[in-house]
């Protein structure tokens, strides 16, 4: 019997590491992977809560989150490829054309 609190704390730790990755890394691909990590942490929390309340809605919601994440990755990576083609770099500091 593992208390659900442990899963929630683990999920919070993973989410925090994802936030940290978005904040300190400049590589667009790493930032994207950190976003995936955050989605995963949220999924873990949802499944843990669903398991405690013995409800299937949590698992179905996670299923939809995974499907939306797949769509997001397809479009996001296409955008990164486009940025690389125009800037020759995927450093997010280089993407500053709108800066005055």
């Amino acid at each position: 019997m593992i208390p659900v609190d442990y899963y929630i704390i683990l999920s919070a730790i993973l989410f925090t590491i994802g936030v940290l990755g978005v904040l300190i890394r400049r590589n667009a691909l790493i930032i994207f992977m950190s976003i995936e990590l955050m989605l995963n942490a949220a999924n873990l929390a949802i499944v843990a809560f669903g398991s405690v309340f013995e409800s299937f809605s949590g698992q179905i919601f996670v299923f939809f989150v995974i499907a939306v994440a797949a769509a997001e990755v397809a479009v996001g990576l296409a955008l990164i490829v486009e940025i690389f083609r125009s800037k020759r770099s995927i450093d997010v500091d280089q993407v500053s054309s709108l800066k005055g």
Partner: protein
Amino acid sequence: MTLDLALFLLLALIAIASALGMLISRNTVYSALYLVLNFVTVAVFYLLLSAPFIAMVQITVYAGAIMVLFLFVIMLLGAEGLPKSEVLPWQKPLAIGLSVLLFAEAAYLLVTKSRPVGNVLPPAEAVNATENLQQLGIALFRDYLLPFEVVSILLLVAMVGAIVLTKKERKARQ
């Protein structure tokens, strides 16, 4: 009971270590592989939470499809190593401080304020895989049919969008 807890702690350690490895490794390919390890560990957590279908979807879609797409793009762009460009010296300590604050807030709110009742059932006492799949399928196609169809349209739009985004530039370049 103790075995459950030991297994949980070991897996949690692997998950956190692989997430940190993803964060700090300089080579993007290593980061992607650390993230695969993290996804597989989370899939094992889903098994422990008696969600075998979600665990398999996690491995096939996340660790399989999505990370292969990532590795494909990394190698397509040749972006394994990026030169360091630290422009703001105070950014890293500030980010770490804010992240610790975020974690403290999240842990405080989730654990003390909205405390969920009870423990997670061990997988042996919970539903077996076939039953889980059956119930999930019935719920998905009866109660959640509209969201399911909307997701299928979303996936179609994403596919078309990705093709359009990567194809237009090539035409203009030639």
